[in-house]
């Protein structure tokens, strides 16, 4: 093989020398050092790990061998509270981030509007929903509404960013046509950009709802209600048979919602069929 190519290919005399990748080497060393230092600092109890499979089997048995099905109605009710939290949070968050995200897109808002808005999105992205909930529960108390508000505010960070990025990715031609016909900025945004971007934005809004369903369960852990709240209580009182039922409900409901929402999103992105378009007049 090598002999064959060596005889056939003409000898290359002036091949460029391989570039030195000092930066990459340094980065590799640095990452390695950080991993090593972290592992040493955490003082991992490797011997405990050996016990993990046995413990896991023990607790899984406690949870799922004889689930306490009498807890099912309560579990469903609290899951419904969590899903409501997710739904209201998604709706509020998407409406707010659409209103804020459109002027944050290049070509729509001027720089002095864009930059502060993007700053707000970046800060909100940096703060986890749980922290936001802890801050606003001082005002609204330990209620599911606090959870919904925290999801809405937390959602603005990512959804606002998705909104302006989606709008910026719309090909500029349609907007130019609206401008050429004498349209003003609002008309360009509404008919040049929104019509092109809205299916994608709707799909992202549904995706935000799916994310919120998962996050709302976590928010329950700080006591704003919903299935996470219930889970904390059962775990603290070591009612493993009830915990098992809760986990089953959470997993099933989350998967069902993901499935339905995903199917709707695929339908949206595939585009409406011709006869479905007319929603006017």
């Amino acid at each position: 093989m090598t002999v064959l190519t060596a005889t056939r290919a003409p000898a290359i005399t002036r091949a460029p020398s391989r570039p030195r990748r000092l930066g990459v080497r340094a980065a590799q060393l640095l990452v390695g050092a950080v991993v090593l230092a972290s592992a040493l600092h955490l003082d991992i109890g490797w011997s405990d790990l050996a016990q993990l499979p046995a413990d896991l089997r023990h607790y899984l048995g406690l949870m799922f061998a004889h689930p306490d099905w009498s807890r099912l109605p309560g579990a469903f009710y609290q899951t419904w509270v969590s899903v409501s939290m997710a739904w209201v949070g998604a709706l509020l968050g998407v409406v707010l981030s659409t209103l804020l995200g459109i002027p944050a897109a290049a070509g729509v808002g001027p720089l002095w509007v864009r930059l502060p808005l993007r700053g707000v999105f970046a800060v909100l992205r940096a703060v986890p929903e749980v922290i936001i909930a802890i801050i606003i529960l001082t005002v609204t108390g330990l209620t599911p509404f606090t959870g919904a508000l925290a999801l809405a505010i937390g959602g603005i960070g990512t959804h606002g960013k998705w909104t302006y990025e989606t709008i910026e990715a719309v090909p500029p031609g349609t907007a130019e046509a609206v401008r050429a016909a004498g349209g003003n900025l609002l008309e360009v945004a509404r008919w040049g950009l929104w019509t092109q971007a809205s299916p994608e934005l709707m799909s992202l809004a549904l995706y935000r709802f799916e994310i919120n369903v998962r996050t709302s369960a976590i928010l329950g852990l700080i006591g704003v209600g919903g299935v996470g709240d219930l889970l904390t209580g059962y775990t603290q009182y070591r009612q493993w048979d009830a915990v098992g039922v809760l986990i089953i409900v959470i997993v099933v409901v989350t998967m069902v919602i993901d499935g339905i929402s995903g199917a709707i999103r695929r339908r949206i992105m595939r585009g409406a069929r011709t006869r479905d378009v007319d929603r006017s007049s």
């Binding site: 090909p171 031609g173 349609t174 130019e176 046509a177 609206v178 401008r179 050429a180 016909a181 004498g182 349209g183 003003n184 609002l186 008309e187 509404r190 008919w191 040049g192 019509t195 092109q196 809205s198 299916p199 585009g271 409406a272 069929r273 011709t274 006869r275 378009v277 007319d278 006017s280 007049s281």
Partner: protein, 272 residues
């Protein structure tokens, strides 16, 4: 708005075609590229003029100075009674309402219906809050329908624009421009994305617009046979400078070679 003013009988003296006068127009883009260098030309009302040149010669810049999509760096642009280079904001948008434009890429909203796409042409005649909500008057609806009818696309009015073929999309784009009831029609390489038979059909539509609706038409082309066949006068651009201005049908191959700055090639013609 005068509801009777569509169709061929729109050629009343009050709303007749507009002349276009460019005087020593230079366009320098913010990135330093010069689009036009000292171009002066006078297009009479109702003329059908082609602008010919290679890509990058300034054709697109030239037609966009006429409706102010590209601001001029120096020189004056007079369209009908308006000095476009001096207008901004609301008044510029008002003038644009009288200048229809079609594009190489059609520039329709593919995910909206044909109806909503054509309705865009009514924006400059409609209050903003109504257009934002998609509310229309009966006159607007009638104008949209008659514009679609005049390009033979009426039966597709409730279809999705994205589902149309290229030629159909350009027809809808022409209808969008016609629903403005314009005095001037601009076309930026309107047939460059179309196959030859469709290209001829769209060029025929443009010529019909010129004669039946009595509009001043300014169309960018890079194919010499289309310019000869469908337009009466030809402007040649090379590197942003006006290098030819004369009748289109009698322009010789040598004239085209001068405009292109190279010998004629087979890709400079469309054929039938």
């Amino acid at each position: 708005m005068d509801t009777t003013a569509h169709g061929p009988e729109a050629a009343t003296p009050a709303s007749g075609p507009w002349p276009i006068r460019l005087t020593d127009v230079t366009v320098r883009y913010p990135n330093g590229v010069v689009g036009l260098r000292g171009v002066s030309l006078a297009i009479e009302a109702g003329e059908m003029v082609s602008v010919v040149g290679l890509s990058g010669s300034g054709k697109s810049t030239l037609v966009r100075t006429v409706n102010g999509l590209v601001p001029v760096t120096s020189g004056t642009v007079q369209v009908g009674p308006y000095r476009v280079d001096q207008l901004r904001g609301r008044r510029l948008r008002h003038v644009r309402g009288s200048i229809g434009m079609i594009f190489q890429g059609f520039n329709l909203a593919d995910r909206a219906s044909v109806y909503h796409n054509v309705l865009v042409g009514r924006f400059s005649h409609t209050p903003t809050w109504k257009t934002l909500l998609g509310l229309t008057s009966r006159e607007d609806r009638e104008m949209v329908m008659s514009a679609l009818d005049s390009v033979g696309m009426l039966e597709k009015v409730w279809g999705r624009a994205g589902a149309l073929s290229g030629g159909q999309k350009q027809r809808v784009a022409i209808a969008r421009a016609l629903s403005q009831e314009p005095q001037v029609m601009l076309a930026d390489e309107p047939v460059a994305s179309l196959d030859p038979p469709t290209a001829h059909a769209v060029m025929s539509d443009l010529r019909r617009v010129n004669t039946e609706r009595d509009l001043t038409v300014l169309v960018n082309l890079h194919l010499m046979d289309l310019a000869r066949q469908y337009t009466t006068r030809m402007i040649g651009l090379r590197d942003g400078e006006l290098v030819y201005d004369g009748p289109a049908s009698s322009a010789t191959d040598a004239d085209f070679e001068a405009i292109y700055g190279r010998p004629i090639q087979t890709r400079d013609t469309l054929g039938q």
